[in-house]
């Protein structure tokens, strides 16, 4: 599904990603862990085409297609969804209009007619239930005045509406209370199919307990320095990152 080769990316001339290699196959869940500032959000932003980042070398293909030349909206319509670490408030743009524009843009891309208003509202209702998002929230402006947790829940609601092939969850667990985390994670699992994949960025084990990643990566200073199974996440939870840094200290020779 997603293939990243030797990806280098910088922002304002400062190199953040220093050669990322990552392959995500259909149906897989990959966790990405790493210290603050390691470049996890940068990686997700680069995958979805944030214009502030410059890809200096390497490639990203999605379902065999080179996506680096695609606009952010085209990548989204191809089926890549980012649950933002910090969702944006957009006063004056109603959730309904926002979701309608997003869904119909995707349908148009797929050669489908816009969804009739009645069906659209029905879909909103249905998908809202999956993450137990209050209808008072979907009748407001996008994220306006939402609490931190409500914003995260709203991200997964949007994901439920748009049914992406690849979902990137950037610290979706942060800000969610224990119950909300369970609801959102279970909602996410309900939406999974053998054809959908996910990259889950998190600092904690708890979300991964629900999502059961196939692979866990450790990202340090713009590189994936270690890859393992679910047990790696548990080890990081108990031991932190120092032992990994020590490991690479021995193997990586500075340029």
């Amino acid at each position: 599904m997603l293939q990243i080769n030797n990806l280098h990316a910088s922002i304002n001339g400062k190199e953040i990603l220093k050669g990322i290699n990552l392959t995500v196959r259909d149906g897989e869940v990959h966790a990405v862990m790493g210290l603050n500032g390691a470049g996890k959000s940068t990686l997700s932003n680069v995958i979805v085409g944030h214009p502030a980042y410059e890809v200096t070398s390497g490639s990203i293909t999605f379902d065999g297609k080179d996506i680096l030349s695609l606009k952010p909206e085209e990548r989204a319509r191809e089926g890549i969804f980012l649950s933002f670490q910090q969702p944006v408030e957009i006063p004056g743009v109603s959730m309904v209009n926002f979701m309608r524009a997003a869904l119909n843009a995707k349908r148009k891309y797929q050669g489908l007619d816009p969804l009739p208003a009645g069906d659209f509202l029905k879909l909103m209702r249905e998908r809202r239930k999956i993450v137990e998002l209050d209808s008072r929230l979907t009748s407001r402006s996008v994220n306006e005045g939402f609490s931190g947790g409500e914003k995260k829940r709203n991200e997964i609601f949007q994901m439920a509406m748009l049914e992406p092939k690849l979902a990137i969850l950037d610290e979706t667990d942060s800000g969610l209370d224990v119950d909300a985390l369970r609801i959102v994670a279970e909602g996410f699992n309900k939406l999974r199919t053998p054809q959908t994949s996910a990259i889950v960025i998190t600092h904690y084990q708890r979300l991964l307990d629900y999502l059961k990643p196939d692979v866990v990566h450790v990202l340090i200073d713009g590189r994936i320095v270690k890859t393992g199974g679910p047990e790696l996440a548990a080890e990081i939870e108990s031991r932190g990152f120092d032992w990994i840094k020590a490991e690479i200290g021995n193997s990586v020779t500075p340029l």
Binding site: V48, H50, P51, K71, P72, E73, A76, R77, F81, L82, F84, P87, V88, E89, I90, P91, G92, V93, N97, F98, A101, A102, L103, A105, K106, Y109, S141, V142, Q158, L162
Partner: protein, 405 residues
């Protein structure tokens, strides 16, 4: 004095024809208006309230001047001035700023006056719609005059629309005088959707009596050059005014809103909100003064001008002003000029919405607050649709007008 000369010459040429068609109340004011206009000429940018206007250039082209009296059937409570009660007729030119040369030009050349008179304790159920459709084979100047008198406790909504049904140049010079007696409620809406070759000078003067409430909305959706002036004199205690406006402009459009709200007596409230969305090389100006006179205690006033510039070439001049000569007041004023929110744009694009559509949604969102301030629900709904069409470039010049069918 070149631009002025053609108007003075024209007046002298048609003076007799004019006076033979108009009622005495109007004719009695013409000579004085001529003297004012001839003496002052078109205001230059040195005149405070015209700092952002280009009056001489706007009036310089050689327009044919329309001398037609009012036509069409008049809605209820509307009269040609000759048919109005004498005490109403007597109010003609008593509220307007007669020292202003644009007003003087209007007084000099106007043929007829539309009077809206709502009698005591009468509530006009349906909005009174005054629809101005500019049309003609040649470039035309139109002088329009409206006198609104709201007797005690009268209530009405008035919607004035400006449209153009032909593509040539038009210049509108409009003067609206409004007298509100005690306890009257008026919502006065002005909606302009003309075209790039239309120039509009609108001058609205209001006198508010005790406990009266005025809502004024001025919506410039499509235009060429527009200058809107609003002067409100709060003369009766307990009165309230809401001055609400929005501007959507792109290409080389120019919109200047200039307001003056005077609190003469205690316990009055004024709320002012103007929002502009400027794209391409559009130029916007807002200058609004709230003047709290000595003794106008317990005045409450809030003035806001917020602007969204979609390009680096669009320009906005903003000048909110507050002058206070009373000590026990609550007043605030401020303005903002901002660009498109890039984070919001990216968020929308990540959801699959293309950039153009995302920009459009943000612009519409910016204007929404102004539309939501409008108390008349049917108009609000219609304006949401019109704003959306406008931003999509689908606003046809003849939207809703049957003349071209």
């Amino acid at each position: 004095m070149k631009a002025e000369k053609q108007y003075i010459d024209f007046y002298q040429e048609v003076r007799f024809r004019l006076t033979s068609r108009s009622p005495e109340e109007m004719n009695l004011q013409r000579e004085e208006a001529l003297r004012t206009f001839a003496a002052k000429g078109f205001p230059s940018r040195k005149v405070e309230r015209y700092r952002y206007a280009n009056v001489e250039a706007d009036f310089a082209p050689n327009y044919g001047i329309q001398l037609a009296p009012l036509s069409g059937t008049l809605p209820s409570h509307c009269f040609r001035i000759a048919d109005a009660e004498p005490r109403i007729r007597a109010l003609y030119n008593k509220v307007a700023d007669t020292a202003d040369s644009i007003v003087a030009l209007n007084t000099m050349l106007c043929v007829d006056t539309l009077v809206v008179h709502v009698p005591k304790a009468t509530r006009v159920e349906h909005p009174i719609q005054i629809s101005n459709v500019l049309k003609g084979e040649q470039d035309t100047m139109v002088c329009r005059r409206i006198l609104v008198v709201m007797d005690e406790m009268a209530e009405a909504d008035i919607i004035i629309t400006d449209r153009a049904a032909s593509g040539n140049r038009f210049l509108t010079n409009q003067v609206i005088e409004v007298v509100m007696e005690e306890g009257a409620h008026l919502s006065l809406y002005e909606v302009e959707e003309t075209h790039l070759l239309c120039t509009r000078y609108s001058n609205v003067f209001v006198r508010q009596g005790k406990n009266s409430t005025l809502h004024h909305s001025n919506l410039t959706l499509f235009n060429g050059h527009t200058r809107n002036r609003l002067d409100v004199l709060m003369q009766g205690e307990g009165s309230e005014v809401t001055a609400n406006g929005c501007v959507i402009a792109d290409k080389m459009q120019h919109v200047d809103n200039n307001t003056l709200i005077e609190h003469l007596v205690p316990n009055c409230q004024s709320h002012e909100l103007y929002k502009y969305v400027l794209d391409d090389s559009a130029v916007g100006a807002f200058a609004g003064k709230v003047l709290v006179h000595e003794g106008a205690q317990k005045t409450s006033s809030k003035e806001t001008n917020a602007n969204l510039l979609a390009t680096r070439t669009a320009r906005m001049y903003t000048q909110p002003m507050l002058e206070i000569y009373a000590d026990d007041v609550q007043c605030s004023h401020g303005s903002t000029v901002g660009q498109m929110d890039e984070t919001a744009l990216f968020y929308m694009r990540q959801r699959g919405i293309d950039e153009k559509e995302a920009r459009l949604l943000l612009k519409a969102a910016f204007i929404t607050e102004v539309i939501e301030n409008i108390p008349l629900e049917s108009l609000r709904d219609r304006l949401h649709v019109l704003v959306d069409k406008r931003l999509r470039g689908e606003l046809s010049k003849c939207e809703g007008c049957k003349l071209c069918k």
